[in-house]
């Protein structure tokens, strides 16, 4: 299987372990990724919070690049990028006026038929059975809280991905590794991604609620599919600990990292050593190497 | 606006039970639509003969709308289903001889769809306005009058 790849800015910086682990895992799963040549930033929240046209035009440019590379499917591992790409495509196709404006900005006709998919959708296409057949390390002793955040499932009319209130597709994929998943309440609650830098207080508060609920429901680890969620949930645990000294840390892994462990990759290969919250204990639980 | 907008002439053949009642409901609800349409009330879409449509064009219509009950809702149970089959054949034939879906329209509007009636009729009027007066038919009409 060949799939287009739009890493987005985060995967080249704060989320580089996501990129590392994803490329390794996908190659084990016989998925070839073809990166879009000279892609640019999708504009993220900053664009769509302040300039609507810009927020549609930037993703549109990337979609056109993908189209020119004849990519049928485009993987956007970052949930924020995924949301911007698929959202822009939806808006353009449902609003002729906007389409004209975007074409004016891009100076070309917008005719991209490339389908944007997220990492969970890609793994669904690979198939649970395939993952299961390649598992080298059973994760049966760990309990996972799957965190979807806002941008994978919302707005549901656009992403058409899973149930907006109680998504279960990530749990389904993870079951292939033998790991148990927990029922919890904050699967789709926002971590405050957009405020990551400007309003640390908000992010700290939201992240703490998410972390606490996962622990309360018995999770050993939180699994995410978004570098923004990851940096909030992983990095912010220090700040949380400062405010609430009793806070006990819980490791936060990318979905690709968790699957990577199951497929026998070690912690370093997956970039788990780059996290702020130590995942050594977790790796020991399944007798995996750091 | 300086130039006069073209006011198309639309004839609508509608069934008494669904579309006519739906159009009544649009009135009862005080919804507004463009006045370019004249309704001819028939008991059922099953009563609508393609010759009506041709005659309407002959008499100067720029567009024709045929509207009745949704399948399953027919007051006479099956009238609209027989009509639907007839309309498939006739609309294809008309399209083939050059009267396409911009002039010949079909819709299902139920008795409770006053809003839909308004949307449909406005859409029909706008579409016909866009393609302009039916000059081609008017030409053979005119020649006919001279001929007589």
């Amino acid at each position: 299987m060949i799939v287009g790849y739009y890493p987005g800015c985060s995967l080249t910086g704060t989320g580089k372990e996501y990129d590392m682990s994803l490329r390794k895992v996908l190659s084990l799963l016989d998925v070839q990724v073809e990166e879009i040549n000279d892609w640019c930033c999708c504009g993220a929240t900053s664009a769509h919070a302040t300039n609507h046209l810009l927020s549609v035009a930037l993703p549109a440019r990337n979609l056109m690049l993908a189209q020119k590379q004849n990519l049928n499917e485009l993987l956007a591992p970052c949930a924020a990028c995924y949301n911007r790409l698929i959202g822009s495509k939806h808006e353009i196709s449902h609003n002729a006026d906007l389409k004209k404006k975007v074409e004016f900005v891009l100076e070309e006709d917008f005719n991209s038929s490339t389908e944007v998919i997220n990492i969970v959708q890609l793994l669904q296409k690979v198939g649970k059975e395939k993952i299961k057949s390649l598992v080298k390390v059973s994760l049966k002793d760990i309990k996972v809280a799957c965190y979807y955040g806002c941008l994978l499932v919302r707005p549901n009319a656009v992403t058409k991905f899973d149930d907006a209130e109680n998504p279960t597709s990530m749990e389904d994929i993870i079951s292939a590794t033998g790991a148990l998943t927990v029922e919890w309440n904050y699967k789709t609650e926002c971590c405050g991604g957009a405020h990551s830098i400007a309003r640390k207080d908000i992010v700290t508060f939201l992240s703490k609620n998410i972390l606490d609920d996962a622990k309360l429901n018995g999770a050993h680890v939180i699994v995410v599919a978004c570098p923004m969620c990851h940096s909030n949930l992983d990095m912010r645990q220090r700040a949380i600990k400062k405010l609430y000294p009793s806070h006990e840390e819980i490791p936060v892994l990318y979905l690709s990292e968790l699957i990577g462990i199951a497929l026998g990759l070690n912690g370093k290969e997956l970039g788990i050593n780059l996290h702020f919250v130590d995942a050594i204990n977790l790796l020991q639980m399944v007798k995996a190497e750091m | 606006m300086s130039e006069e907008k073209f006011q198309p002439k639309i004839v609508a053949f509608v069934c008494n039970w669904c579309t006519y009642t739906g159009a009544d409901l649009a009135g009862t609800s005080r919804l507004k639509y463009q006045p370019n349409v004249r309704l001819i009330r028939l008991p059922c879409t099953g009563r609508i003969d393609p010759v009506f449509i041709i005659k309407a064009f002959e008499k100067g219509a720029d567009g024709v709308l045929v509207s009745g009950c949704h399948p399953g809702d027919c007051h006479y149970n099956l009238g609209n289903l027989h009509a639907r089959r007839r309309f498939i054949l006739f609309s294809e034939l008309m399209n083939y001889v050059g009267i396409d879906s911009s002039r010949l329209h079909f819709s299902w509007v139920s008795a409770s769809e006053g809003k839909k009636w308004v949307d449909v009729i406005n859409e029909v009027i706008d579409t016909v306005r866009e393609v302009g007066p039916f000059k081609k038919y008017q030409k053979i009409n005119k020649e006919f009058v001279l001929h007589e």
Binding site: L216 | W17, C18, A23, Q34, R38, G72
Partner: protein, 670 residues
């Protein structure tokens, strides 16, 4: 032919946008129009007298009234015309209100259109011929579909007037949702106590034929003369032999397996069961989907204990036909079920409330069962998950109602009242408990209704919070309810023990199927459509069919009962005469031209076309041509449109009339 045109102003309704005087003046110039006049209110007595006098004085042959929709006043004006001595079918209506003045703003445009509509009607009426209504006999017998409180009331009213009633109920017992309720607002009297005597009365009534566990399969015919096919589902019981002793139920080994519909899943029942102790008839039914015998071929315990050998494992569904003159539809409602999103439905469900996931998040009918003295907890308020008494309970209104995104945009009308009742019952039973109600508006229009809600708030201390709840989740054994008090402008979080959702009343899932069987229009929600929202609220466009209760829209018990009596009264009006007059708009064959291809026969929905023999002088059959049975013809005209040579025509809407209407159109735009 001398035609009179009468243009109605309908007060301001037409006159505001249509220049009626101009229309009348210009109509006078239409060839054939001998008299033309406008009037403030044509339908009023003085207005009708204008028509009658003109007919007499000007010796008019036909009239056109430009007024409201023919569906409103065609009858009125036809009668006025007939009173003045012309055939009533020589009166046509130009609909210049619903389809002109009310939908257009521009006076010149509306006036032009009104004149066109008059011209079209004039051209038609010129070609109308005097007709005589067709008389058909009336079968003085009614079918009532649905045995809830509405169906019961309608059946009793008709039967007590001396006419036979066939009452069809799809469940094993009559009683409907009312039999599930605990107490009823605003009087708090026990639902079962007031309902059961009515149920028994139905059962014992000599004029009522009760068919439970049965469904209507097919309806043929027309007003006064319906033939109804009813499927009696196999109960697996010989109804004649069964005494209702209940021994079989006690001995059934499937004690606690089957989903108990009556208890809304809060309890279980055996495979052979009666839905509830007061069931009418008190005859059990075997649920074949769970019965051991049907699943494995073994057991037959019920048969062994039955002293009367009333168990019939081999019983089959049977079809019975009934001849009736009127049909009352009283099929009621269902509650919006939100645990699982139905396939092929646009309902999204409320994942954020966790209904179906959390046992203690329940709907209104489940709370009724919990509060009911005969319910699974014997009336004690206990939460389903662990049978403990909830100390903090949250009620949420408008779940599925007034919600375009996840439910329906309409208001379910009764939830404000039953929620107040629920909260009140809770407070009466759990004195130290706290009850919260999240509401958007309190709609308590009804006798003693507002007073009832105020009592809940002021005397029983139920805390009303204005705002919708966004999310419910479980944490530390509590249900965290996140809401917003929009009056205070403050978020509200309540750690409740139990949550009751006032879910929407929705149409029965198969409502549209029954509608299509009978030929009843329904709205986009599946509720049956009345002919006129104000003046003909229990009639539907199919004559002889009437509506009662919540199948038409959400309504409470008193409204349902009132509507049922109204539907019964409508049936009785029908039964008041031996014959019915039917519109004479039927098809006739031009026998000289008919080539006998019988495409008309193929398309006729009523099998009204017969093959008529053509004989030569020797009496030998030489050909067949089409013939219309006027008793069966309903006047759809499909035959007319199908006939290639137009040798069959629909009286009242014949080719000549329609041609004239199209022709009038062309003149109008010249």
């Amino acid at each position: 032919m001398k035609i009179g045109v009468f243009v109605c102003h309908c007060g301001e309704n037409i006159g505001k946008t249509v220049d009626c005087a101009t229309v009348a003046q210009r109509a006078a110039k239409i060839p054939g129009v001998a008299y033309s006049v406008d009037n403030k209110y044509m339908c009023s007595d003085p207005g009708q007298n204008v028509i009658k006098n003109a007919i007499r004085e000007k010796k008019l042959d036909a009239v056109v009234v430009a007024s409201c929709s023919p569906h409103m006043h065609e009858k009125t004006f036809r009668k006025a015309a007939a009173d003045a001595g012309i055939n009533k079918y020589l009166c046509e209506i130009a609909n210049v209100r619903e389809q002109c003045s009310w939908v257009h703003d521009n006076i010149p445009d509306a006036t032009d259109k009104a004149l066109d509509l008059v011209r079209i009607a004039v051209e038609k009426v010129k070609r109308n011929i005097p007709l005589t209504a067709i008389r058909v006999p009336v079968t003085k017998r009614a079918l009532v579909i649905g045995g809830g409180i509405s169906g019961i009331q309608a059946a009793l009213d008709i039967a007590n007037s001396g006419f036979e009633v066939v009452l069809v109920e799809k469940e094993p017992s009559i009683g409907g949702h009312m039999s599930q309720l605990s107490e009823t607002f605003p009087t708090l009297d026990c639902s079962q106590c007031i309902l059961t005597p009515r149920m028994v009365e139905v059962y014992q009534h000599p004029k009522i034929k009760l068919l439970t566990y049965s469904e209507v399969e097919k309806v043929e015919g027309f007003i006064g003369n319906f033939t109804v096919t009813i499927k009696k589902k196999a109960r697996s019981i010989d109804e004649e032999k069964c005494t209702g002793c209940g021994l079989c139920i006690q001995k059934c080994p499937i004690k606690k397996k089957a989903f108990n519909e009556f208890e809304e899943g809060l309890a279980t029942r055996p495979a052979i069961y009666v839905p509830f102790p007061q069931a009418v008839p008190n005859i059990p039914v075997i649920d074949r989907s769970v019965c051991t015998y049907y699943q494995t071929g073994k057991c037959q315990m019920c048969l062994k204990v039955c002293g009367r050998e009333a168990i019939l494992f081999e019983q089959q569904d049977t079809l019975v036909t009934e001849e009736v003159g009127s049909i009352v539809i009283a099929t009621g409602y269902k509650l919006y079920s939100i645990d699982k999103k139905p396939e092929d439905s646009e309902i999204k469900g409320y994942g954020e409330y966790g209904y179906g996931k959390y046992k203690d998040v329940i709907d209104g009918l489940q709370f009724e069962r919990i509060a009911s003295a005969s319910g699974p907890t014997n009336g004690e308020i206990l939460r389903p998950s662990d049978k403990t008494q909830p100390k903090k309970i949250v009620f949420i209104q408008c779940v599925g109602s007034r919600d375009e995104q996840k439910g329906f945009s309409y208001c379910s009308k009764i939830c404000c009242m039953y929620t107040a009742k629920h909260a009140m019952l809770y407070k009466h039973k759990v004195h130290d408990g706290e009850a919260y109600v999240f509401y958007m508006d309190i709609r308590a229009g009804g006798k003693m209704y507002e007073e009832f809600v105020r009592r809940a708030i002021e005397e029983d201390g139920v805390k009303y919070i204005r705002g919708r709840v966004s999310k419910i989740y479980r944490q530390n054994g509590k249900y965290i309810v996140k809401g917003e008090d929009t009056i205070a402008g403050m978020p509200v979080v309540i750690d409740a023990d139990m949550v009751v959702l006032a879910t929407a009343m929705v149409a029965q899932p198969n409502a549209s199927k029954l509608a299509q069987t009978i030929g009843v229009p329904y709205d986009k929600y599946g509720f049956y459509q009345e002919v006129h929202p104000k003046l003909r609220p229990v009639e539907v466009s199919t004559a002889g069919v009437f509506l009662a209760g919540a199948c038409q829209s959400p309504k409470d018990i008193p409204e349902s009962v009132a509507m049922a009596s109204a539907a019964a009264a409508k049936s009785l009006v029908l039964f008041g005469s031996d014959y019915l007059e039917r519109e004479p708009t039927v098809a006739v064959v031009n026998e000289a031209n008919c080539a006998g291809c019988f495409y008309c026969l193929k398309v006729c929905p009523y099998n009204a076309i017969e093959k008529k023999e053509v004989k030569n002088k020797l009496g030998e059959i030489i050909d067949y041509i089409a013939h219309v049975n006027a008793g069966l013809c309903q006047g759809c005209g499909t035959c007319n449109a199908t006939c290639p040579s137009k040798s069959i025509e629909l009286i009242g809407f014949n080719d000549e009339q329609i041609y004239a209407e199209i022709n009038a159109f062309s003149e109008s735009f010249v």
